[in-house]
Symmetry: C2
């Protein structure tokens, strides 16, 4: 390991939480406030970036719609390079790093290059978005299991999702980044045996001022989300627990302004 | 609604995170620091309780080994009663309230009684424990889906887990509170088609000074966890991603002292 300036920095992979900047952990906040470099994704709140020291270097390495504008190997090399300069590096990712966050790839690369790293878990939108819509993922007598997939993988041949077994395997199904392939996802679920009348909720920009919740049936959720003009990021929840969604936004789950809550038809 | 003292308090359901008190969210910390009453579960860190004001009332309503020493209806009634006294109530639950936390039941009861409530999501041990063991839940080309169940439900007739579909549905399977029924869980997974040689990890007290990680095969994990003397709470991870577990504890994922990491046989 070649160390410039005599000291090896470290990399903290910090889960930034689902959107509301106050859903960052206390530990994540401390790492951010002592960062010398912050590499952040597009979905990370600008208010969080303001928490880093004024003179910290800020590098956006975001993805957009599932496409990485900044290739993963370039991110990996940047992390190593800055740490070798002796800098405290924070890699700030939306949600949690280890659930569809590719944190595993970064940790492995850093280890292979002898860079000290720590993982600071975050609140995933897979959990926070249902909470913000008043939907528990599990509920006694209604749902005792949860499955989580990413909607971007519907058409990813290298990383296929086995919808035939997944469609009905868990009582509650959560699909992250669901909007772009929403019709395909719904189609896969239905042809693999999930009932057309299963309640479904599409949650846009959970825990932010832009939060919107559309509730419908599995059959109608894609059309309804389109009609209501939802924009990414959208999380889809399928299962009987959706019946517990409350049209009143859950107080305190939103950062700045009251959330807009939209009830679709089909309930 | 009968309001005593003229003002209706509110209830904040706060996810306390997986163990390390610094994995509480900034928002959860603020709620805790202004609480007048804290109802907390047994697994919540004492260091978190110290963050509540010195004169705040503290009530342990914990469960032990899946058995509620304090019945849910009594918790519900306490929340309503204290809010009606005009108090700011924090309901502090290990992990996240809406994933096997029965937060849904409490929110519904509070709404039915006209009590304002907010849900502040937390870092679930379902995500944090794998992170602390260096195991990503998803990984390109290896795992594109995750299923989460609670091990306490293996023998819960009112709330059965459908192991036949769940065993192989998702690439990565996470079983929370897995220790007590570990042999039954492994048995169910194997008879329902999960390979004996699937890598498995048992993680005790993740993100705390008592963290221990045992890595083995699905066939041997129960025996190995027993041999190593793991104690609850234990989270089980089954799937190829376990191959990425690092015997070195991930720095910073543990609160006070270096974690003990134990490698089992069968890797």
């Amino acid at each position: 390991v070649k160390v410039l300036h005599g000291r090896l920095g470290k990399v903290s992979l910090v889960g930034a939480g689902p959107g509301d900047p106050e859903l960052l952990t206390v530990k994540g906040m401390r790492a951010l406030r002592t960062a010398e470099v912050v590499l952040y994704d597009r979905l990370v709140s600008p208010r969080l970036l303001d928490e880093a020291p004024a003179d910290a270097e800020r590098i956006q390495v975001g993805k957009h719609g599932g496409h990485y504008s900044f290739p993963q190997d370039k991110i990996n090399r940047l992390l190593v390079e800055r740490a070798r300069r002796g800098m405290n590096v924070v890699r700030l990712k939306g949600g949690d790093s280890f659930l569809f966050g590719r944190g595993g790839e970064e940790v492995r690369f850093l280890r292979e290059h002898g860079i000290p790293c720590e993982v600071i878990p975050g609140v995933s939108s897979a959990l926070a978005a249902p909470a913000a819509a008043g939907i528990p993922l599990t509920e006694r007598g209604i749902a005792s299991s949860v499955a989580i997939v990413s909607g971007h993988q519907v058409k990813d041949a290298r990383n296929p999702v086995c919808w035939s077994s997944l469609a009905s395997a868990a009582d509650t199904l959560v699909v992250m980044m669901a909007l772009r392939n929403l019709r395909s996802i719904v189609h896969q679920l239905i042809i693999n045996g999930r009932s057309l009348t299963t309640p479904a909720a599409a949650i846009q920009s959970a825990t932010t001022p832009h939060q919107r919740v559309v509730v419908s049936s599995l059959r109608d959720i894609a059309e309804e989300a389109e009609r209501q003009g939802l924009v990414s990021p959208v999380l889809l929840i399928v299962g009987e627990v959706v019946h517990m969604a409350d049209s009143r936004p859950v107080q305190g789950s939103v950062a700045d302004e009251p959330a807009k809550s939209v009830q679709g038809m089909g309930r």
